[in-house]
Symmetry: C2
Subunit: 328 residues, 2 copies
Amino acid sequence: MKLASLRHGRDGRLCVVSRDLKTMLPVDQLMPTLQMALDSWAVAAPKLQAVSDALNKGEASGAIAFDADKLASPLPRAYQWCDGSAYLNHVELVRKARNATMPPEFLHDPLMYQGGSDDFLAPTADIPVADEAYGIDFEGEVAAITGDVAMGSSSAQAATQIRLLMLVNDVSMRNLIPAELAKGFGFFHGKPSTAFSPVAVTPDELGDAWRDAKICRPLVTHLNGRKFGEPDAGADMQFSLADLIAHAAKTRNLKAGCIVGSGTVSNRDASKGFSCLAEIRMIETISEGKPKTPFMKFGDHVRIEMFDAAGQSIFGAIDQTVVKYTGP
Amino acid sequence: MKLASLRHGRDGRLCVVSRDLKTMLPVDQLMPTLQMALDSWAVAAPKLQAVSDALNKGEASGAIAFDADKLASPLPRAYQWCDGSAYLNHVELVRKARNATMPPEFLHDPLMYQGGSDDFLAPTADIPVADEAYGIDFEGEVAAITGDVAMGSSSAQAATQIRLLMLVNDVSMRNLIPAELAKGFGFFHGKPSTAFSPVAVTPDELGDAWRDAKICRPLVTHLNGRKFGEPDAGADMQFSLADLIAHAAKTRNLKAGCIVGSGTVSNRDASKGFSCLAEIRMIETISEGKPKTPFMKFGDHVRIEMFDAAGQSIFGAIDQTVVKYTGP
């Protein structure tokens, strides 16, 4: 099934979305919010599945036209958002651009950072940034929403707790990151509010594109209306979503509604293009000595989407414009 | 007023606690959870204050005996937990132990890391750890729970959004941290589930011990029943809680229920003792060439508390024992 949250209050109003993303049905009288559904998934999921089945057959009353602009993030706020870096080509490029090699332990020990989760951007909301000099970038990723994952769970155990899948725009302020990482405590200002796809889907919706806890379809990114990349999210992924969840749970429990991201989708085949500006800038630095593609400016626009083999959008599009923030 | 959450479900049952920590009154029929109160604080706070006033006068019916063992963390799970490092003596010692000086920018640019917030430990819950070799340590801290803080807020603006104050045990796995920080993405395995004091209090409960967004009372830590430290949380604090909140909000909004911590309370006067084992081990390393105080072992016990000038416990005690985790 496919789920979304209408923009409403702090946690949205839960909707079931049809497989073809043409209609959606608010189900908040059945289950007010997605977090509440995740909190009691064993009870909630069958009820929501029944609604989904009826909606897909055109037998549900009360359905309205799907409109991503009316949607918040599937979880407008979450209790945890942690983001791995599973596509090592991305990591290797970062390092190659500064003449460093990748430590061999990176092959079995994922990079992961803890992100802020109290204020996600809606999938079509503007990205407010105070200063273009921050080095504004997008990062196209995939992510899982988990159920309860006990500390010390294996990848196989973690895989059973993958409830829903989404796309991610892990908005990044590239020029704030080097000084921040040099302080030693990881990202903070460099990773402002994140955006997710309008729709979260259960893994079965992917059919045979869901293999070994990987989403085996291209992630298509457009920058200002031009195709920027379409690397396959199932290729060159060193750590599956289940591996990343198990990594996150090594010393603590993860609780229902925890979001675990893949890191920037990146293929070794550069002809597939890219899922962030930093990567093409690294390629330019390696080949030409310096980057020529600029970071995003106010008014620039990014669209991140994934299609099934028949060309149907699976998650809806993340579709965002960078704007100048002048508050508070 | 003083608030707490009875252990119940994922988010607890909100209680008002008497100033003397002798009685508490479940108020979940008025306001089910602390998060919901924070989500609508302008409406909720006056109602809760009225209950508090009646309880403190002995005029509330339905009050029960205060029992910290029945309490979860005031927020059993939260949408954000970020932890600064405001006591620079702690930072200087860490660096001095490895013959490094503190960069001058640390005087105006706080260290801060993003913590996991989906599964806080109850204030008297055991600390489950899979392996003593992780280097188990406590960190006694103070923290604020905020309302909505707009991106780019000043310290003065942030100060107006401090709703509640708590104590913290920022449980740390010291031997996992060096390799983790060397990877560059900050803490993850090294910072498992955090614990908070049984009671969260509004700043006015501190009287004149609340000055300039600092809590000006000693933080008293006992290890296995022996006093380990009582540094003053208002002394040598380079960044106030308001400063830390403003830092956290530089590139993003913080939403109601965000918890911002001070980092380990540490005074330049070493006779005040310490709030974590790492610090005394650094002192030993500096003076004797190597640490002699061991990290915590299974069965070891830490108690963190703060008293007002009359000797009354303000927040109740964090009171935890380390146990071996054998799951999942």
